[in-house]
Symmetry: C2
Subunit: 135 residues, 2 copies
DNA sequence: ATTAAAATGTTATATTATTACATACTGTTA
DNA sequence: TAACAGTATGTAATAATATAACATTTTAAT
């Protein structure tokens, strides 16, 4: 059995794969220059190489950017293959970040319409608080 | 009638007032260095002076940071005197940003609990789409 | 083989934000 | 008033985050 169309569409280039692997195995969100430092031994030498891979990985939904932290985590939510509807919980003490997958939440937000009738194609939600350990 | 306690607590210093005035009268979110450029004639010369005022204004809820844009807008939602529960709509073409004040939305999000039972003290939500004009 | 799209390599630069340290102002209390 | 604590300011230097511009190479389809 060959590569399915959807897998092929999202197959990663060399730099993308190196950077995705690093982020995917990290227990915490990684910043661009932390990534750069960690992949220099693999031949990725310049910020732009990192940012280009990050842009692509975000675009195809393999990773997400935590906007309030300028950091990136791998997607562990099988339902969000594209970065269109993201929600995270962030501990303000230990900085642990978890992707939230709640059918109720995503349904509520996907259906939300504001007063102007503006219809949204995308959202990002970041919750802040204290995690179990830090409470 | 004197200054009420709550007003006094939130009374602004000179730099804070200058920077708040600028943001408050701007039709669009302003970036830190745009602010710096625009207040140099008022004697504010260094980035740090801007960032310190911004930090304070965010803390007391007079302005909000649009995380995905690294920009700041004045709060026009009387119910959010502190920056604990914010929601915005952002047009991806013209970059118009509007603060959303929906009782339903804030009630839903304030009450949201994730699987781990983590209770949140704060959230920020950014919706993206096309505004009326750009559609 | 031709070709177009995507990805890479490289240098330089732009943008966003903080550290460190010295000084001054504001309001309260002894 | 004098002392004090908390907040705000001024200034220089630097750190951290992100993009512009341009040349080249790889990939994958025709
Ligand atoms: Zn995801
Ligand atoms: Zn924690
Ligand atoms: Zn507000
Ligand atoms: Zn628009």
């Amino acid at each position: 059995m060959g590569i399915s169309k959807i897998d092929k569409m999202h197959s990663l280039s060399k730099n993308q794969q190196i950077i995705f692997n690093l982020i995917d195995k990290s227990p915490e969100p990684l910043k661009a220059y932390t990534i750069l430092f960690n992949v220099q031994k693999k031949g990725i030498k310049a910020p732009l190489q990192v940012y280009r891979a990050l842009d692509k990985l975000v675009e195809i939904g393999k990773i997400h950017k935590i906007e309030s932290r300028n950091a990136f985590i791998a997607c562990h939510n099988s339902s969000c293959q594209v970065a269109k509807a993201t929600a995270f919980s962030i501990c303000e003490i230990c900085e642990k970040v978890t992707e939230i997958s709640s059918a109720g939440l995503s349904k509520y937000l996907a259906g939300f319409k504001d007063k102007d009738g503006m219809k949204y194609s995308k959202y990002n939600l970041e919750f802040f608080g204290l995690c179990k350990k830090c409470r």
